[in-house]
């Protein structure tokens, strides 16, 4: 399974999102620090879930990091996130 699929599966299970978009941006970072040639080092996540309602930004990000740890987090160099609640 690709890392992208692992991310999607984990987030789907953990957040039952209303919106979920996982984009592989590794190629945009070709040659940058952390770019490892695996083609799966840099991701961008857009996630909207009821579970984020009432939480601070830091709390939301922590929940996502937790959901992805230890795997596939150990294989990801960079994760950009846009996390919103449903209200």
């Amino acid at each position: 399974m690709t890392i992208q699929q692992q991310i999607e599966d984990r987030l789907q299970d953990a957040f039952r999102p209303q919106e979920l978009k996982v984009e592989n941006e590794s190629e945009h970072h070709r040659g940058h620090a952390g770019w490892d040639g695996s083609g799966e080092s840099h991701f961008r996540i857009v996630l909207c879930s009821e579970r984020f309602n009432g939480l601070t930004r830091v709390q939301r990000h922590r929940l996502v990091y937790q959901a992805l740890s230890p795997e596939p987090m150990n294989h990801i160099h960079a994760l950009q996130m846009e996390l919103t609640g449903t209200r």
């Binding site: 970072h29 940058h32 620090a33 952390g34 930004r57 830091v58 990000h61 922590r62 990091y65 740890s69 987090m73 960079a78 994760l79 950009q80 996130m81 846009e82």
Partner: protein, 121 residues
């Protein structure tokens, strides 16, 4: 050992109003995400301390435990962990960063902040 490093980090964020743990330093950031936070702070003319985690592996791991946050950069204001690159970017554009600085009496350029928001809206 690891308790020492936690105390050291505690002291750093206590002694300095605004602290950025980053890869590289403000002059030569070594990572695009660190670089972006540096750009925001510089543009807003905020006085801050930068800590290069690449020069100190113990701080690099220690700060992740300290904040329970697995990535660098990390910004602290008056001892409080504010967030990494995504959060700082969102807060800059929404005006929340200004409010945070106002609430903690951190000096910054209001004019630059307004300009930044207008150019990115």
């Amino acid at each position: 050992m690891s308790e020492d490093i936690q105390n050291e980090i505690q002291q750093l964020v206590k002694d300095n109003d605004v602290v950025l743990f980053m890869k590289g330093n403000r002059g030569v950031p070594q990572c695009g995400f660190s670089s972006r936070v540096v750009s925001v702070l510089n543009y807003l003319e905020v006085t801050y301390s930068d800590v290069n985690v690449l020069e100190n592996p113990r701080i690099r791991e220690g700060v992740k435990q300290f904040s329970e946050w697995p990535t660098i950069p990390q910004l602290y204001v008056k001892g409080e962990f504010i967030g990494g690159c995504d959060i700082i970017t969102e807060m800059t554009l929404s005006g929340e960063l200004e409010t945070l600085f106002d609430n903690h009496s951190i000096t910054y350029s209001k004019e630059a902040s307004t300009r930044l928001r207008e150019h990115n809206s």
